[in-house]
Amino acid sequence: MRIGLRKHFSIIALFILPSMLIVGLFMIYPLFHSIYLSLTEYNFVYSEKPQFVGLGNYVDMFSDPEFIIATKNTLIFAVCFFTLLMIVSLAIALLVTSGLRGMKTLRTIVFMPVIVALSLTGVIFQWILNERFGVLNHVLELLHLDVLTRNWLGDSDVALFSLVLVSVWRYTGIVMILFVAGLQAIPEDLYEAAKLDGANWWNRFVYVTLPNLKETFVVTGVWGAMNSIKVFEQPFIMTYGGPGSATTTLYFYSWRNSFEFFEMGYGSSVAYFVAILVLVASAINIFILNRNKHLA
């Protein structure tokens, strides 16, 4: 029996060994090495070797004006992007599952931006949002809405929100598909029963649809939280963090410190701060949604 068990576990080990090697080499080692780097002062080009400074980088972060701005920008982006994404995606998902004509086409059109690389999206929208040559301002002028034309990427008051809108355009398709799956899993009987009880559309939405989408909200919420905090391509491609620091986000700031200024230690500490933010946001999301699960 014991020999059989040992053999059983050896076969299991054999199966998981390759993936463990890959995970260890490409995920666990870099993870621990970057934690170590975040506790050092280390310029990759000009320092002989990392100099241990303990939590010095983490302390310095909170007196770094650029870090504070990047944190503020990231939180503003996260709240706006997450909220808009959830509302727009759910609204489109409800439309797609309504049974109206043309909804399959709508679903395809909404999903198409997902397959466009984010960097390419950034390049395209740089042109669309250009103040002088851009399509958006041109269309607004044709519609006699000149008052709405803006320097979408060059005005520090609107640049960050321009990135939010581009991101919503890009990611709505994925979240919509998740909501569609969730909506299709809700039994029709519940809606019929609610109708029989005299519930109107809004009541059915609030008391039937939303509660039954809880699991979907967990998945989309965690995904949305991650992608609303880990923002890099949009500021990198479209504005390079400008004008000024108006669109500098934490992830972008971490990259600049690590690979432009070669400050690997400080860049790592910023990256871990981002990771902590993502964990906290995800945990809050899961906690809120699972709060009353025991009552179900």
Partner: protein, 456 residues
């Protein structure tokens, strides 16, 4: 049991395939090349094409040349590679694109591991190359290299840009000068030409402001053409700032210590005030603050009449607007005190297994008259050998005179942070109404806080 072994065996095979697929690339040349793909242009020479060419000591080697993407477009690298292979049967030359400046550093991480997958790298200003020198990654170009093309044949300010710590670690591929690129038709329309129909050069900021004002067109309350655009993005912010000072401040843009950028003098204030004024008065767009291509695109589209940036934009715009339609005009004072020059260099990693082959390729192809003149004529990239200017247009020849008494940017270890500081503070000044005085103070203080070091 047999089925279990079969399953285990299949899984092991799959893992082996995955690991083989993830296997590392080449280190140095000498490997037989892989499949052709869109990123690696590999043109093999048929050794039977010219049987009179003898095989030489490089036979069987593969030279991997990495160039920033724009260089592949603006320099006849493929032609150079093919010609080299014809001249050296049995040698292969692969041209690979590398990320442009500001995207990512293509080499430092691999070279820090003691390995390289390129033999020759093209592209990078002295500031970009200095980290490689600091880490001792590069091969020196010694006197033996210059025995074929003497050092005295080079445009000296350009050659000097490859000297670090007294040694030549890079050789310039092409040169650039900061100047005004002006639309000749617009200047004629505004009456800003001389008796020969040549655009006038502004003598000072007031005159340049006047030019910009005359050239700006407003229709129905909307600006349809700006008089002047300035490249304020990170790739040109420091160079354009220096060029604004050097012409108006007796050839100086540093303080007497030779290290500190002048952010506090009256001339510095005049420059910043000029920049703020042209934006506030609607003569200059601000998209150049966030878009590296805003200025050149606007110049080519006729949306701007003058562009303050590298002189090569003139020839580049001629491809769209027509020959002679865009010319270079000196910034105030730079005809007397010189402007700012910069180069894109050629450098060889010391981990390359084909150092001598790379040097021969540079000597025979990259410093050859054909390629140097081709790039100058089509894209305004200035040749690095003086005598190559003889056959070129008067406009390009005039750039040689400017270059010969121009200045190079200092090499700071903290260049990236200095660029970031200047870009941010000038952005705040231009787009958020920060005062000139506050900008000057922030620049001075920020620069002092960096405690900069010069790469000797």
């Amino acid at each position: 049991m047999n089925r279990k072994f079969l399953v285990v065996g299949l899984i092991c095979m799959m893992v082996a395939f995955v690991l083989a697929g993830c296997g590392g690339g080449n280190s140095g040349g000498g490997n037989a090349s892989k499949q052709n793909n869109s990123n690696t242009k590999n043109v093999s020479a048929n050794p039977n094409n010219d049987s009179s060419k003898q095989e030489d000591i490089f036979t069987g080697k593969t030279l991997v040349v990495s160039a920033q993407s724009w260089i592949i477009d603006k320099w006849p690298l493929q032609e150079a590679a093919e010609k080299f292979m014809q001249d050296h049967p049995g040698v292969k030359v692969e041209v690979k694109p590398a990320p442009d400046k500001g995207e990512a550093d293509a080499y430092i991480l691999q070279w820090s591991q003691g390995t390289t997958n390129v033999d020759l790298a093209l592209g990078g200003s002295p500031a970009d190359i200095s980290p490689y020198v600091a880490k001792d990654f590069l091969v020196e170009f010694d006197d033996a290299f210059f025995s074929k093309i003497g050092k005295d044949k080079f445009v000296q300010p350009l050659l000097q840009q490859g000297v670090f710590k007294g040694k030549q670690y890079s050789v310039p591929l092409l040169g650039e000068v900061i100047s005004l690129n002006v639309n000749v038709d617009h200047m004629k329309e505004a009456g800003l030409v001389d008796a020969n129909g040549q655009p006038l050069a502004p003598k000072d900021w007031n005159e340049l402001y006047d030019f910009a004002q005359k050239l700006t067109k407003v229709e129905n309350g909307k600006t349809v053409r700006y008089g002047l655009a300035v490249d304020w993005m990170t790739n040109f912010i420091t160079l354009n700032y220096y060029s604004g000072l050097v012409g108006t401040n007796n050839g100086k843009f540093l303080l007497d210590d030779g290290k500190t950028i002048d952010f506090q003098s009256d001339k510095a204030k005049e420059l910043l005030e000029f920049w703020q004024r042209i934006v506030n008065d609607g003569l200059t767009p601000t998209d150049g603050v966030i878009d590296v291509n805003a200025g050149r695109n606007a110049l080519k589209a006729g949306g701007v009449s003058m562009l303050w940036t590298a002189s090569s934009r003139a020839q580049e715009s001629e491809a769209v607007l027509g020959e002679g339609k865009v010319v270079n005009v000196p910034l105030p004072g730079t005809d007397q005190y010189g402007s700012i020059v910069f180069t894109h260099g050629m450098y060889i990693p010391k981990y390359s297994k084909n150092v001598e082959l790379a040097k021969v390729f540079i000597q025979e192809q990259l410093l050859d008259k054909y390629g140097q003149q081709w790039s100058a004529t089509k894209f305004g990239k200035l040749p690095v050998i003086t005598e190559y200017y003889n056959d070129l247009s008067p406009g390009i020849q005039s750039m040689l005179k400017v270059m010969e008494h121009s200045h190079s940017e200092p090499l700071y270890q903290e260049q990236a942070k200095i660029t970031d500081l200047m870009h941010k503070q000038i952005s705040y000044m231009l787009t958020e109404g920060q005062s000139v005085e506050q900008t000057m103070d922030n620049l001075s203080k920020g620069f002092a806080d960096l405690d900069v070091h010069i790469v000797e």
